[in-house]
């Protein structure tokens, strides 16, 4: 079952959330950012080349021009391959784990998979990012030594940074799947997160590091 909806990120840009429900125990959320616009690319390239031409008229050395072309090309390739994330996907499979994939503009994909044994919970947390306070979805990992302690907080959708309405949708779906995992277990969990109409938002006691 597929579903596409449009949301906005914290800066007001357009985001598209695509939901795929493969089975009752497997769901995928795909958040797509807008692609690299031709306008911004033209602006940056013209600025760099105008500056290089200005430098050329001053020092009369044509190496400056070829260096500027080289730098522009390398910079663009580096930006597309290492910086610009087009799509972020969250795949949650009951009793297997949670997988996060980031696809870059050049086609590179970087994947992280967290096994279900290590996942304590999925929550929406608040953080201070530059001059704003934003909400972000994160996965809490269990400490291997102390099962009731949290060892790590893994934020999700770090580059897309969607707003709370989008996060609530994803949060509700994830909690439905995590509930299957917690229901048959006999030992009581420290934080029981039943799917509720208003998500429990935990106040952040940590200052976010930004990206």
């Amino acid at each position: 079952m597929e579903n596409e909806q449009s949301f906005s990120d914290i800066c007001g840009g357009r985001l598209a959330l695509q939901r795929r429900y493969y089975s009752p125990s497997c769901r995928e959320f795909c958040l797509s950012s807008p692609r690299l616009s031709l306008r911004s690319l033209t602006v940056v390239t013209s600025t760099v080349w105008l500056a290089a031409y200005g430098l050329f008229t001053v020092c009369e050395n044509s190496v400056v021009l070829s260096a500027a072309i080289f730098i522009t090309l390398l910079g663009l390739l580096g930006y597309l391959h290492f910086v610009k994330i087009d799509q972020e996907t969250l795949l949650i499979i009951d009793s297997l784990g949670i997988q996060m994939t980031s696809s870059y503009a050049s086609g590179k994909e970087s994947t992280t998979f967290i096994e279900m044994d290590k996942v304590k919970d999925v929550i929406i947390n608040e953080a201070i990012y530059m001059q704003k306070v934003i909400y972000y979805l994160c996965i809490l990992l269990k400490d291997p030594v102390e099962p009731h302690e949290i060892s790590q907080v893994v934020p999700v959708f770090q580059s897309a940074k969607p707003r709370l309405d989008c996060l609530i949708e994803v949060y509700r779906s994830c909690q439905e799947i995590l509930a299957h995992q917690k229901a048959p277990s006999t030992s009581p969990q420290a934080h029981q997160k039943a799917p509720s109409t208003s998500p429990s938002i935990q106040k952040a006691s940590i200052v976010s590091r930004g990206k």
């Binding site: 493969y22 125990s25 497997c26 499979i93 009793s95 297997l96 994947t111 992280t112 998979f113 290590k118």
Partner: protein, 581 residues
């Protein structure tokens, strides 16, 4: 929990039969290792599995049935397969079925025990996860799931999570040795069932490596015995060896070669990787060295180099003389103390004169020396670079001497100044209590102390200037030597074999796994493809970096500035061994 069936992709096209593998109850997952085909005798299958279990310490059992319907649906085969669950009892009993021409599979897992209604089986929800058996067998997880000292006994129970799948497949190699051309009682289908692959070259290399390793190991032990001879321990030879970086590099390479050619086999994968990395690093080094050698010996470059060396040393000495003349005048408009200036300047000029004469004495032999040093490139590029660094150190020995003189003079002056400053204020340093105490001085002590203090203060700019100039020169030389050492370190410690493996066979170095959801149909079990997530290049370098012999500065910027201010000598190349002694 949802039951996960890990199914190898190579068995997806196999004929109907029994599923053989390991059941992990903690994660409710069934790892299928092979398919046993008809016809078979159940008792022989059980015997075979018991043998495999004993050899590999993995709990291999019959997990269920696999049905691949190629022609029209055969009902009698279905009934026959169901009857097998009575012979090979296993909880839960898996039944995988694939229709002809359909990509979707059907799967059932039945449990007899623990079901709500007795007499009727309960069915679990099943998820099929496909995996590439060969890649999972050959890959290593980072960090390793099982520590090497836990390998004995039923260590298969030690791996948690998906690492259990990797561990199961890796330990079941004995199951994959029989292929379909064998005449054994049991016919299996797995990734090697089309025949075990091997390469003639690899087998020959393995056979030849034994005697070659023994020969080279004995040669290397001879070389190290000679170098440990008592003749080389006579003073001042050990002092010279410790100062030359070439000797350190040669010793390091000797250690590495001894390790590579040692007759013992490597026990665990990390030792194997280290040996391979060292081997590739040595080979690259020698290849680069031979390239350099061929470049040097062609077109008479040795003569050019030798002819250029003496004029360069002359030029450096001339520049130093100009510098000293400048300092003896009014450098940068500062007014120096004439007498001290002249003394120091003449002292240093005489040194330079001695140095120039020494260089001119050596000049007929320079070409021979350079030729022989060039030959050392066949031992490796790192050795040549170390020799270059040593030659630079030798050629700039006079700068080092000047730096030491200037630093000692300046240090003495600072000590004197600080002590006399305390006297000026009426205090003194208490050596017993390690602190500054007040003290009553006599009048003549105060008088002389103040006089000396004044003299030292007024002579301070001159000394400080000489110290500054020579320290800057010395730092310049150290920077150049440091860059060369950095390059040598890079060649020594970069794990090239691991990087090549990551480039060409990324599945060998695994950071984890990743899943891809395959085509779905409602009502059918979920199908996933498990792939290996390779390690990133940064992590590869970090994990497999070879140990260096630690030739880098041991102090931080703060302590360096402090030492420079107080005139203490800087020794940048303190070896790690000295620190531990």
């Amino acid at each position: 929990m949802v039951l996960k069936a890990f199914f190898p992709t190579c068995c997806a096209a196999a004929d109907s039969g029994l599923l053989v593998g390991r059941w992990v109850p903690e994660q409710s997952s069934a790892v299928v290792l092979a398919v046993v085909h008809f016809p078979f005798i159940p008792s022989q299958v059980k015997e075979f599995l018991a043998q495999v279990q004993q050899t590999s310490q993995v709990g291999v059992a019959v997990l269920g049935t696999w049905c691949h319907r190629r022609q029209e649906p055969e009902d009698n085969l279905g009934h026959f397969l169901e009857g097998l669950s009575a012979i090979f009892s296993h909880e839960p009993w898996l039944q995988l079925c694939r229709e002809k021409g359909s990509t979707f599979w059907s799967c059932k897992a039945t449990r007899w025990q623990g079901s709500t209604s007795p007499g009727a089986p309960s069915e679990d929800q099943v998820m099929i996860v496909f995996y590439d058996q060969r890649k999972v067998l050959l890959s290593q997880l980072h960090p390793p799931a099982i520590l090497p000292d836990q390998e004995t006994g039923d260590a298969a129970a030690g791996a948690v999570g998906l690492a259990a799948v990797f561990h199961t497949v890796a330990r079941s190699e004995v199951l994959f040795r029989s292929d379909r051309f064998d005449e054994g009682p049991v016919r299996l289908s797995h990734w090697q069932s089309d025949g075990v692959e091997a390469s003639i070259l690899v087998e020959l290399a393995k056979w030849a490596s034994g005697p070659i390793c023994l020969l080279l190991a004995s040669l290397l032990s001879l070389v190290s015995a000679v170098s440990a001879c008592w003749l080389f321990k006579l003073w001042p030879l050990p002092f010279i060896w410790s100062k030359l970086s070439t000797c350190e590099q040669l010793r390091y390479r000797l250690e590495q070669l001894t390790l590579i050619f040692s007759p013992q086999k490597a026990e665990n994968p990390s030792q194997r990787m280290r040996k391979a990395n060292m081997c590739v690093s040595v080979l690259l080094d020698v290849a680069l060295g031979l390239t350099l050698l061929s470049w040097l010996h062609g077109k008479g470059r040795i003569e050019q180099l030798a002819d250029a060396l003496v004029p360069v040393a002359d030029r450096v000495a001339e520049e130093l003389q100009h510098l000293l003349q400048w300092l003896m005048g009014a450098p940068a408009g500062l007014k120096m103390n004439r007498a001290l200036d002249q003394v120091l300047g003449r002292f240093f000029l005489y040194h330079i004169h001695l140095w120039i004469s020494y260089i001119h004495l050596m000049s007929p032999f320079i070409e021979r020396i350079v030729w022989h040093v060039g030959l050392s490139a066949c031992l490796g590029l790192t050795v040549s670079l170390s020799i270059l660094s040593d030659i630079i150190a030798l050629l700039t020995f006079h700068i080092y001497c000047f730096y030491v003189y200037g630093a000692r003079l300046y240090c003495l002056k600072i000590c004197g100044l600080s002590s006399l400053w305390r006297l000026f204020r009426g205090k003194k340093w208490n050596v017993l209590r390690q602190r500054v105490d007040s003290c009553s001085y006599d009048l003549d002590q105060l008088f002389i102390g103040t006089l000396l203090f004044t003299i030292l203060v007024f002579l301070l700019p001159t000394t400080a200037l000489y110290y500054l100039v020579f320290t800057l020169l010395r730092l310049l030389v150290i920077t150049v030597q440091g860059l060369i050492h950095l390059l040598v370190d890079l060649i020594n410690s970069l794990p090239l074999y691991a990087l090549g493996l990551r480039l060409c066979r990324p599945y060998r170095l695994a950071a984890g796994v990743k899943f891809r959801v395959l085509e779905q149909e409602a009502g059918r079990p979920l199908r996933l493809l498990m792939q290996i997530n390779p390690l990133s290049y940064g992590r590869v370098v970090h994990t497999y970096r070879l140990p260096r012999y630690g030739c880098h500065p041991t102090h931080s910027w703060g302590s360096l500035c402090r030492k420079l201010f107080f005139g203490e000598l800087i020794y940048p190349w303190r070896q790690r061994e000295d620190k531990q002694d």
